[in-house]
Symmetry: C3
Subunit: 177 residues, 3 copies
């Protein structure tokens, strides 16, 4: 039963590991999960609504603002039958801020947890994504519910991508004290 | 007079109560006030500017971005003669991020205090509102002036609503150290 | 060579000073630099993409959302030959939130450092600008890379302006612990 204190079996290791950082005497939390961001296809989760061409603007062009409602999962594969996989949603916006490369995006979103003991708690994210760079980093600028006073960082890598759809991997570390 | 300790004459005691949280040895501030958000009527304070139909988009639809300049008051009723009621303004944006229910909104705004000792100071808010849920929570992600280094949370309930106009009640707790 | 480790001569003192704040036992960092925000001209760096007239909206009108990619420099003058001057970019958005004066803007942006030891690190900024006021203040709500866990404030003054182009001066103070 021990591991069940946090989550049943599989989830424990996947989602949340708590450890103590000796230096600052502050406890940190670490999470690992995946976001599915689809700009195309029947499972579209990200939609441009403003830019130089309004809601028909290209997300790859400077100035385009995209609204997202992306699944957050424990494992990168999303299948409708694997209902245990869903952890929550990433809801917010990203804005293309690079007129030269078109590859930088200001990210502003809420991660809303929907499972078990963290149901309803959130993390607030702000940062800049440089698409194509092997590793990116955003800031955790706040949190709610069980994550009140949160601040930290998200190390982001790309687990997989296909055209304009991508599955970034989030390695999140934050403190709440 | 007992309750007058909390809500006396005017703003000073009404607005801010400071208490010490023993556990962390950190002092916290707590505030209670009301926002008036009117999407319709002659006192309109919230206007869509982007979405799938540009500035004529429906705030209740996924993708719509609304710009707000809402009054922040000590008491829920706004009357022009009750000038003592005004505490400041909430200025920023909310974005509809739920394609299924249309009830989730990413909130990004500044609370600009305009009265007495806190005049000119701000709190920075980021979070997700789920309209219709009895209690919601946003994060205080920063502050300026007398609220430098602020971080905390806003517990939000609906004091009253009429059509697309609403008066949410903010119970704000934050630390500045 | 000594000072060259950080920056040539002037830059060392200009950009980063670390000092210890006795009261809280926390170390603070302080930076001083300049942003070049051009809404007009051949070196345009700020572009409206939404508002009541879409991407042709006036930045001086309530509701207009502007996307920026502004140079951050050690000295206020930008010249192409002075390559040592560039420190990074400010990438994000500002939104006109004042229907009466048209002078308030919600600022949401990332400062991306591009030089030397801070290359790739960021600060996350959120706050309200009141254009024309001698001194304004935004919040540092987070950071990444060498500025993980950052929170603090930006004191902003206007170094120079010409029509709709301006060079604000940022005096940034933040803690990372």
């Amino acid at each position: 039963m021990g591991s069940g204190l946090l989550f049943p079996a599989m989830a424990t290791a996947t989602l949340v590991i708590v450890f103590v950082q000796a230096a600052a005497g502050q406890s940190e939390m670490n999470m690992l999960f995946y976001m599915t961001d689809n700009l195309t296809g029947s499972s579209e989760t990200a939609f441009p609504v403003a830019g130089f061409n309004g809601s028909s603007s290209d997300p790859g062009k400077f100035g385009t603002l995209v609204i997202i409602n992306d699944a957050i999962t424990k494992r990168p594969e999303i299948t409708k039958s694997d209902t245990d996989n869903l952890v929550g949603r990433a809801q917010g916006t990203y804005i293309n801020t690079n007129p030269v490369t078109g590859l930088d995006f200001l990210m502003l979103f809420t991660i809303i947890f929907q499972n078990m003991e963290y149901n309803g708690s959130t993390l607030q994210i702000q940062g800049t994504e440089t698409f194509g760079r092997p590793q990116r980093e955003y800031a955790v600028v706040g949190g709610t519910g069980k994550f009140r006073f949160a601040r930290g960082h998200v190390v982001c890598t790309t687990e997989s991508s296909s055209g304009k759809n991508a599955v970034p991997r989030f390695n999140i570390t934050f403190r709440t004290n």
